[in-house]
């Protein structure tokens, strides 16, 4: 870690409950909530070491109170919460709350974590891959797509009033869209990028095709070029086994990981000159534009810093 990422005591805060924001991290990321561990993993080990935005973190579970103590370096953090089965922290002053998913309150839904996977690439690349429709027939052939049905039909992309990007009307043929799908069908997808490192997808449930399963990807930016991908699944019950959901999502993400780790450069280039988009990439293009407009540089190669631009 370079000097800029070191945790130092904030002089203006003698209680020592804040760390100083490194210059390479935008406040939009610093003053936001990020998942840093699956709670179950911390519960089993009692203590867990990780890193967020170049800052080393340790998490400790108090077995009596069930509370989590998070330290950035030696400094205890004020903003720690457990939600959706994950441990969330904010390194700065939270400027907004943790993302809300109303579906997660539905009584007939099964909420589950599908594991946390370390990926040696910028977390922005992981978010973009999650938004990507045209890779399904290749990277997830036989499950989320298959040749020759590779065409990506037009879909709509708009920016969200709360910030972020929403893609709707995405229809793809999927041979095995979920762990309980028995046959292929045209699946209706909606994607929403909610935060720079948080994206969610809604897809038609194979039993109740008018209702939708939800999968959220919380990306923990460990450094500008590495991340941990945390998956939250929120399926309609319909005979879904939690272990099967977990296994299915880990299998699917296991197919994405080698692709992600073979992307060059590791950071996401924001200029279209560096990586040529086509119409099927409307969602990813909108995501890159939104990151540019929001001034996100962490994990990215902004157009101004790109010699290829």
């Amino acid at each position: 870690m370079d000097g800029g990422g070191r945790c130092v005591r904030d002089d203006a805060c003698p209680a020592g409950r804040r760390v100083l924001r490194p210059p390479q991290v935008e406040s939009l990321l610093w003053d936001d909530w990020h998942v840093v561990a699956e709670f179950e993993q911390l519960r089993r080990s009692g203590r867990f070491a990780t890193a967020l935005l170049d800052v080393p973190l340790t998490l400790e579970l108090d077995p009596d109170s069930g509370t989590v103590l998070a330290r950035a370096g030696d400094e205890p953090l004020a903003s720690v919460r457990i939600k959706y089965g994950f441990v969330w922290v904010c390194l700065g002053e939270p400027s907004r709350d943790i993302v809300e998913f109303p579906e997660c309150g539905d009584a007939d839904r099964l909420l589950g974590t599908a594991g946390s996977v370390r990926v040696a690439v910028s977390g922005l690349r992981a978010v973009e891959n999650f938004l990507d429709l045209s890779h399904l027939s290749f990277v997830h052939a036989g499950f989320l797509g298959e040749e020759p049905l590779t065409e990506v039909k037009p879909y709509s992309v708009e920016s969200s009033p709360q910030g972020g990007v929403i893609a709707t009307g995405c229809r793809v043929y999927q041979p095995k869209a979920s762990p309980i799908a028995r046959e292929g069908f045209d699946v209706d997808y909606t994607y929403a990028v909610l935060r720079p490192y948080i994206v969610v997808l809604y897809k038609a449930n194979p039993v109740e095709q008018h209702r939708r399963d939800m999968i959220a990807l919380f990306v923990q930016p460990v450094s500008a070029e590495s991340c941990v991908a945390h998956l939250l699944t929120c399926y309609l019950e319909h005979g879904v086994e939690p272990a099967a959901v977990r296994r299915f999502q880990q299998f699917i993400f296991g197919q994405d990981r080698p692709i992600l780790e073979n992307q060059l450069p590791k950071r996401l280039p924001l200029t279209p000159a560096r990586e040529i988009p086509v119409r099927a990439d409307m969602a990813s293009a909108a995501y890159r534009r939104w990151l540019t407009d929001a001034g996100i540089r962490y994990g990215a190669i902004p157009a101004a810093a790109d010699p290829a631009a």
Binding site: S134, E147, T150, E151, I259, N262, Q263, E275
Partner: protein, 248 residues
């Protein structure tokens, strides 16, 4: 990329693989002057040396599929034609003709002396050859080192020896005479008993500032009785060279 390297390095040939390693229907990953390269041979026998990233979303083409006439990217199935590097097909838009800008960056490529040679520029002449009167040439197993090309060259110039007949346990083989043709081409020539002569020409491939691949080409009069023993012997000698260079 080759940023930070002098034009004479960019504008010359370097051996980057043995010809026999670049087999049909495979893609070989190489690196020259910090530039990653995807090498692949089409079914007609021509070798392509391409920038190792798909121009669409940056995935390494070395994990792609060599179909014999095209290279197919693993991520979205985009296909690129041998020779031109032009994208021929975008599966997400089957009826759309890919734009001329959807093309992989290519590097200079040639095959000579049992090696595939690549240049990041456009060199005028052919690659440096073994330039001996010996009629039998054998490529040796290439060795990866964590050392600069200059360190390898310095180690070679301090002395190198090899036996003409490894089976004869020729421990008394004389020191070879090592000559640097240039900073990346060195020749170790050995005369045994005054009459028989053999040489190993070393072609150094600078992967970056501190990683080098040593390629060796053995030239002899006559064919050795036990080829495998000869290859093993040279592999041991080159491994010792690597160990010496890495401990400096």
């Amino acid at each position: 990329m080759a940023a930070g390297y002098t034009p004479d390095l960019v504008e010359r040939w370097f051996a980057v693989a043995r010809t026999e390693e670049v087999v049909p229907r495979h893609v070989v990953q190489a690196q020259l002057l910090d530039q990653e390269i995807a090498l692949w041979r089409d079914d007609a026998g021509a070798v392509n040396a391409w920038e190792n990233r798909c121009p669409h979303r940056g995935v390494r083409l070395s994990i792609g599929l060599n179909t014999g006439t095209e290279l197919r990217c693993q991520y979205h199935g985009w296909r690129y034609a041998t020779g031109s590097g032009q994208c021929t097909y975008i599966p997400a838009h089957p009826t759309q003709k890919p734009a001329a800008t959807m093309r992989v960056a290519r590097f200079g490529i040639t095959e000579a002396h049992g090696f595939v040679w690549v240049s990041l520029g456009t060199p005028a002449g052919p690659p440096q050859g073994p330039a001996t009167g010996c009629e039998h040439a054998t490529t040796l197993r290439s060795i990866y080192t964590e050392a600069s090309a200059a360190t390898i060259a310095a180690c070679l110039l301090r002395g190198y020896r090899f036996a003409l007949d490894p089976l004869g346990a020729d421990e008394s083989s004389p020191d070879a005479v090592v000559v640097a043709e240039d900073a990346y081409t060195l020749r170790a020539k050995s005369s045994h008993a005054g009459e028989r002569e053999a040489a190993v020409t070393f072609f150094l491939q600078p992967m970056g500032a501190s990683q080098t691949v040593i390629h060796g080409l053995l030239t002899t009069h006559g064919v050795a009785a036990d080829r495998l023993a000869v290859l093993r012997h040279h592999h041991r000698q080159m491994t010792a060279l690597r160990d010496a260079a890495e401990s400096r």
